[in-house]
Symmetry: C2
Subunit: 300 residues, 2 copies
Amino acid sequence: MEIRHLRYFLAVAEELHFGRAATRLHIAQPSLTQQIQNLEAELGVPLLVRTKRRVELTEAGRLFQTEARLVMEHWTRAIQVVQQAGHGELGQLSLAYAGATMYRVLPRILQKFYAQYPRVNLTVNETSTEQQLALFDQNLIQVGLLHPPIRREDIVYQTFFREPMILALSESHPLATEEKIDLKQLADESFILFQRSQGPWLHDQITSLCQQAGFTPRVVQETCPPNAVLGLVAAKIGVAFVAESLQLAARSGIVFRPIAAPPILLETAVAWSKTTDSPVLHRFVEVVRDVAHQQGWDHQ
Amino acid sequence: MEIRHLRYFLAVAEELHFGRAATRLHIAQPSLTQQIQNLEAELGVPLLVRTKRRVELTEAGRLFQTEARLVMEHWTRAIQVVQQAGHGELGQLSLAYAGATMYRVLPRILQKFYAQYPRVNLTVNETSTEQQLALFDQNLIQVGLLHPPIRREDIVYQTFFREPMILALSESHPLATEEKIDLKQLADESFILFQRSQGPWLHDQITSLCQQAGFTPRVVQETCPPNAVLGLVAAKIGVAFVAESLQLAARSGIVFRPIAAPPILLETAVAWSKTTDSPVLHRFVEVVRDVAHQQGWDHQ
DNA sequence: TAAAAATACTCCATAGGTATTTTAT
DNA sequence: ATAAAATACCTATGGAGTATTTTTA
C-alpha cells in the first residue's frame, strides 16, 4: 500500500465516479479500477459499493476518507517543512558573538536576519573569539562573530567590518581634555585589558605598539566583556583600548578619545566550521554580507 | 515519492548506517542507497551527510524525521480504523424500535451490543413498525425492531421473539377481579387501540378475534406508544390489548390479565434493508440472535 | 586493509496503457 | 442504446538484486 492508493481513493471518494476521478488523476479508468481493487484487497475491507450506475462509499470508506485526508495533509506538510528547512527558512542556528560586536554589528545583523527568516530559531550568546573555537569543536555553535585572524584549518571566516580601537577613560582623567591621545602619553597609565589567550593577535598588536611608543603597558585588570571593561573605566581603575563602536554604549562618567596614528585596527568576521553545511548557516552568512554592503562596511 | 521512501528514510535515520538499515528493511544496501538518493533528489534537499565512515542527519533531515514519524503514525492508524470499521467494531448505526419492545427485548439487546461494540455510535429511536418502513426508504435507519409480518421485497427480517397480548385495565375496573378474561366479556368495553395503519396485521387479528367473540370493539382512543396507552388505561378511559412484556412497566392503578385462548400473539423481529451491507449492521443482527438464544426466546 | 557507501548492470514485478466485455438503466 | 465499471492483455518504468568500485579511517 502506497500514498498513490490514498490519492486515488480520495479522488474516487470525492467524485464518486471512476471515469471522472481517473481523468482528474491523469490516468486511465481501468488502471484506477485496478488500484482501488488492490487497495480494498490489501485492507480486506470494501470501501466502495459499485451499485448500478453509481458509486457509493461504505461506512468503512467514509471513515477511511477522513483518515486518508489527514494523512495526506500531514504528508504535504512534511514535504513543505523539509523544503523550507532545505532552503534555510526553517531550522535552528546557534550564534556566538565577541563582545565588541554588541553595539553596532550584532544588532543590525540580528534585525535583518529575524526579519528575513522569522521561522529560524536563533540562539545567541556572547563569547570571546578564542572560546568560540572550542564551541565550534563541540558543535555547540554553527556560526560566530569574532575577531580574526584565527589559525584553524577547519574554520572558514569572512572579514566584513574594520574599526579603529579608541581609548576609553574616565571623564575626570587628566587626558580627558585632549582631543587626540598619543600612545606616548599613556606610558604611566593603568590598563584594563583582556587576557592574551582571549585574542592573542590583537593583544600582541597592542603591546607591540606600546613597545614602539617606548613603554610596556601596566595591566591592572584582565577582563574581556565590554560592559565590564567600561564599568572599570568609569570606576577609574584604569584606561582601556576599546572598539570604536563601543561609543554607542556611552555612559556618563566615560569619555572616548581617538588614538594618534598608527591606528590599532579591530577586524570583525563571520566564521563557521568547514564541515557544517546547514542551509540556515549560509542564509545567515548571506545576511551578514548584505548588511555589510548596505552599511558600506565592505569598501573601507 | 511514496510511503516506502518514508519507511526507508526512517530506518536509515535511526540506524545511521545504510547496511544495517537495509537488513532491517529486508532489502539490499544498494537499493536502499538508491531510494534515499531518489528521495533527496525529489525533495531537492539533502537529508543525510555521508561523512567518511558514518552517516549523519542534516538539519532538514532531523525535521523530516519527526514529520515522517507523524505521517507513519497517522498512516497505521488509518489502516487500523478502516479495518475495525470493516469488522463492524467501529462505526455508526441507527436503530428504530417499536414501542412494545421497550421493556424486555430492547434493553437486553442494547446492553449486550454496547458491551460488545463500545466503539459503535448507536442512535436509537422509538418508531412504530409502519413508520420504520419509511425510515428505511429514506436511509435514516439501518436496522429496526418491529412486529411482522411486513410485505416489502427490499426488507429482510428475522423473528426472534413471540409473546401473547394481554389485557390492561384499571384496577378499579369490574373485570379486575377476574383471573383470566374471556373476549366475550369485553363486548361493551371502550378500547384504546393503535391506528390500523400502524400495524394492519395485528389490528386485523384483534378485530377479527373480537368479531368471533360476537362484537365489534368500540375504539375510544387511537394511540400507539405504550406509555400513552397505559396512561389512558390508568385514567379509566378504557381497556387495551398490550404486549405481555409491558407488565414490566407496571404502574399503580393498572392491572394486567391474560386472555382466554385463543391467544393473540405479538411477534418481534429484527429487520434491515437488503441493500445496506454494513458490517456494523450484521454485528447487530448477530447480537440480537445471541440474546434470543441466551434468553431461550428462539425455542418457544 | 577493512568497512562502508556508491556505482554499474540486470531482471522482473507491476503501474499504467488500449481494447473489449459486462451490466444496468 | 448508452454510460459506466470490470476484464484481458500488453508495455515499460523503476525497484530490487548481484557484482564491483571507491573512499577513508
